[in-house]
Symmetry: C2
Amino acid sequence: MNKYAIVIHAGAEAMDPKDVSPEKEQKYKQGLQQALQAGYEILENGGSALDAVEAAVKSMEDFPLFNAGRGANLNEQGEPAFDAAVMDGKTLKAGAVCSIRYVKHPVSLAYALLQKSKPVLLSGEGAEEYAKGIGLDMEDPAYFITSERKEKWEEKEQEKLAEQHDTVGAVAIDKDGNLAAATSTGGLAYQHKGRVGDSPIIGSGTFAHNDYCAVSCTGEGEAIMRGVLAHEVYAMVKYAGESLQDACTKATKLYDAQLKGDKGIIAVSPTGEIALAFNTNQMKRGYRIQGGEPVVAVWKEE
Amino acid sequence: MNKYAIVIHAGAEAMDPKDVSPEKEQKYKQGLQQALQAGYEILENGGSALDAVEAAVKSMEDFPLFNAGRGANLNEQGEPAFDAAVMDGKTLKAGAVCSIRYVKHPVSLAYALLQKSKPVLLSGEGAEEYAKGIGLDMEDPAYFITSERKEKWEEKEQEKLAEQHDTVGAVAIDKDGNLAAATSTGGLAYQHKGRVGDSPIIGSGTFAHNDYCAVSCTGEGEAIMRGVLAHEVYAMVKYAGESLQDACTKATKLYDAQLKGDKGIIAVSPTGEIALAFNTNQMKRGYRIQGGEPVVAVWKEE
């Protein structure tokens, strides 16, 4: 008998604790609590893992301190652009979008593609037109640009690579034992126009299979893509019989010589076991397992 | 001691033999021979697997009957758009592009990104501007549109889904034992603007790791992406100890209930063993192993 459960992340990367005031840390935790609650409520009411991960990620897309949707990083042109993906562990259906603007909730556009089966991945204007066509909420670029991101972008010279590659994501298992994963990001600050990271790549940032695991990654997108890390976690569980936690921990260290960089992974198993792994000094994260209390944390040691 | 070797494909999908005249079959084989020769020559002269797969794929991008570069499928707007990827099995570096136009050789843009390390994946205009910036050959849309594709597009009503999802790809091992994979496509005929298939997705259409295999896939892009099939081949070899041929054959049948669709896979191992698998009645394909003669074929039974 599985328990329903949800795990979320809002990015893992090396940060100097001095750069995070107690007030900011509290705000991060508030954003994590809200997202966890949005997803957990759905599971508690008998809803699907897919609906739960969408709700949790939407909540983080709305929260201005996380790098997805509103408050996303600005690329080298000073514009926000988004990537997102959702995968259903039962049907192996997936939906994903890359290099899109205007769409208030990129994860919901990915979810709409998943529900339609094909195409799985849409980029740029084609994706934006699709979103408009199905009546999703659209916003002007100004909606997404917070004063904090704008200031940081303008102080580019002083930028210390802090908060450069955060991403938000969620994995869940519902009362029926179905797994789902979702990931959403605003990419890197100052990234090249059109740069796509691991988040919308099925197998890299996002993967789910009911028999093995649902996985969402965060960290240095290029290293995660080249390592196909979400699928490597699945492969270790499926073919090597690793525990989910060991698979996640090993994936954050995989081919270290070639794939160095910050990495964070969250996952859930078909029995409701959860796993979190990261090779950084913090990962904004949270989880709640059926019958338990919500847990949120930022730093490694807490 | 490994042998150098190259394997190529130019698409796998169910086709009615009556739709392929003997002349057309000969032209397919001519295109395959040229591409094989372009790649093999490099290996024979001591060149790298990366240079060999780029050369073979460029040759197929130039060949007007294959669905990549010149002669690519036209999307629902009647425009050609390209996806491509290259991966280096030694460094695990990768380069990829999606939803691009104008670039004469999409695989060469992917290769240029690989050589620069970051970003790995660029989409749309950002990728096109990057290509122009580094001086790659650019062409007007008219260059890419062959009369055959144009006529087919105009006869959309009569279209029988033939030649819908061809892709070209190559995998190779060089004299130093380094592996590489490359894939390039014009996507589906009449595809949604911005639709991206498996070809540029590291782990799905393209993957390489020196210790295990280099893999390039073709077929129904959505099914290959959802199955992350190139990486599944690697995982079966790495964790389940499968032979490369068994891994490729099993990957074409993986999760058949959820991932049905045409699939073709080519691969090469660190010892120069080659593998080809497809679940269709044809895959345009070829290979040449050090010291051997070139082999090309179209139909399953030949």
